[in-house]
């Protein structure tokens, strides 16, 4: 479903992705863990076309998203890219809801504007989605009136409204107060078990990653240092860096 072939990316002297080769199967749930600055989020941002790779090929569902040769001009916002991008949805650490729109308008916006759905149909669907994420009572509230956890659940509903084949979750609980994390994780767990969406999660919630993932990838220094089934990675990692990282995060 997703493939990164020899993808390279640097931020000045910081080499965040080193010739990355990374493949995700349809319906697979993959968690990406690792220390901050290790390039985890960059993988999601390249998929969402928020960043461009310096080099390499990225495809989604068989369609090319990026094909960059080093030194060549990078072509952004091509028609092909826009079409491919429709298959992807993303939930952000900072929610990024549209603050001037109510919860339901946030969810209705893209189906109306991008899919050309009628207002009534979009409203029905948005209402259904907001019910699913437990916000049926808050349809007309604007984001500033909602808690962080509620905002993040609206953001999940908003991304789901486009029926993406691939969902990207970028540290979606990192900005939340601890007591609000559970509700958001419940929603994601439901999605993971009830849909055949391909899911890619960058997360610091190790127990959650272990529970819902088919595969866990440990990232450090721009490379995947180790990957495998969650039980293997969390209980008995082979790589020294993985062991040290897990020890550090699980002790807290």
């Amino acid at each position: 479903m997703i493939s990164f072939d020899d993808v390279d990316k640097s931020w000045g002297p910081n080499h965040v992705l080193k010739k990355l080769n990374f493949h995700v199967k349809p319906a697979e749930k993959v968690s990406i863990i690792g220390p901050s600055g290790s390039g985890k989020t960059t993988i999601l941002r390249i998929l969402m076309t928020l960043e461009n790779p310096d080099e390499g090929i990225v495809t989604v569902d068989g369609d090319e998203l990026w094909n960059v040769e080093r030194g060549r001009r990078i072509r952004r916002e091509t028609t092909q890219m826009k079409l491919t991008r429709r298959k992807i949805g993303m939930v952000f650490q900072q929610f990024n809801l549209f603050p001037h729109l109510s919860a339901i308008q946030n969810v209705m916006e893209a189906p109306i504007q991008v899919l050309g759905m009628s207002k009534n149909e979009a409203h029905e669907r948005a209402k259904g989605l907001l019910d699913t994420v437990g916000l049926g009572e808050h349809l007309d509230h604007k984001p500033p009136k909602l808690s962080g956890g509620q905002q993040q659940r609206v953001a999940i509903a908003r991304a789901m409204a486009m029926r993406p084949k691939v969902m990207l979750f970028d540290e979606v609980t990192s900005a939340l107060d601890p007591e609000l994390v559970g509700d958001v994780l419940d929603v994601i767990r439901d999605l993971a078990t009830s849909t055949d969406m391909t899911m890619l999660l960058v997360t610091h919630e190790m127990r959650f990653a272990e529970e819902i993932s088919d595969r866990v990838v440990m990232f450090d220094g721009g490379v995947a240092v180790e990957q495998g089934p969650p039980q293997k990675i969390f209980q008995d990692p082979d790589n020294e860096r993985t062991r040290r990282f897990l020890k550090a995060v699980l002790e807290h």
Partner: protein, 218 residues
């Protein structure tokens, strides 16, 4: 110096007529400045080829020359050269409106830049078309925030309309001057003109301050 109460009531209708003209110019000029300023800001931000550079040069030119010179150049040089008979009133609206558009464009630019990067990224992630990102996401958030700043420019504009006396616009100051010349009640006429400006500017600035505190809560 004697204060003639009779002159106050006597000049009132004439001054009021002048005030109406002053307000008309302020309102029309503001509308022009609000719309054109936004157009300028968008051309600059979207880096529209050629127009971007043209707007840049034009704004620099307007901001580096006195408004009175612009009024004269437009009314005595440009307008006859083009051969369109534009009245002094309309010329005043156009020159003042365009002049202030060069300032409001900066206000809009700041308002647009204040929108967090995450809003653009969310719009990209939802695949919203560019035009919709502007009309549905960016402008509805940035424009309300800049309304107080626009209001302040309208107040400045209101106070600068007397300049148009130089091309014969029948504004408040011109009417006061006219009344003074005819009746020699210069003191009353100019004092009242000043008082009109004072009252209206002061009330307007109170309104803008209230708007500012509301916007602060956005």
């Amino acid at each position: 110096m004697v204060w003639d109460r009779g002159a106050v009531s006597d000049s009132f209708p004439l001054l009021l007529a002048g005030l109406v003209v002053t307000l008309e110019i302020t309102v029309l000029g503001s509308l022009l400045a609000y719309v054109l300023g936004l157009v300028f800001a968008l051309i600059r931000r979207l880096r529209v080829p050629v127009l971007n550079q043209a707007v840049y040069l034009f704004v620099e030119f307007i901001r580096s020359t006195p408004l009175l010179v612009q009024v004269f150049v437009f009314f005595w040089v440009l307008q006859p050269a083009v051969g369109l008979p534009i009245s002094a009133f309309a010329s005043g609206v156009i020159v003042i409106g365009v002049h202030y558009a060069c300032y409001t464009s900066e206000v809009y630019r700041a308002g647009i830049e204040a929108i967090p990067q995450g809003q653009w990224e969310a719009a990209t992630a939802l695949n919203l078309p560019r035009t919709r990102v502007w009309s549905g996401v960016i402008l509805p958030q940035s424009v309300p925030r800049v309304v107080p700043a626009l209001g302040n420019y309208t107040i400045s504009m209101f106070k600068e309309t007397p300049l148009l006396l130089a091309i014969g616009v029948q504004d408040l100051l011109n009417r006061a001057k006219e009344y003074g010349a005819e009746t020699f009640s210069v003191t009353e006429a100019y004092t009242m003109a000043g008082a009109f400006f004072l009252v209206i500017s002061y009330v307007a600035s109170l309104l803008v301050r209230r708007l500012e505190s509301r916007v602060g809560q956005l």
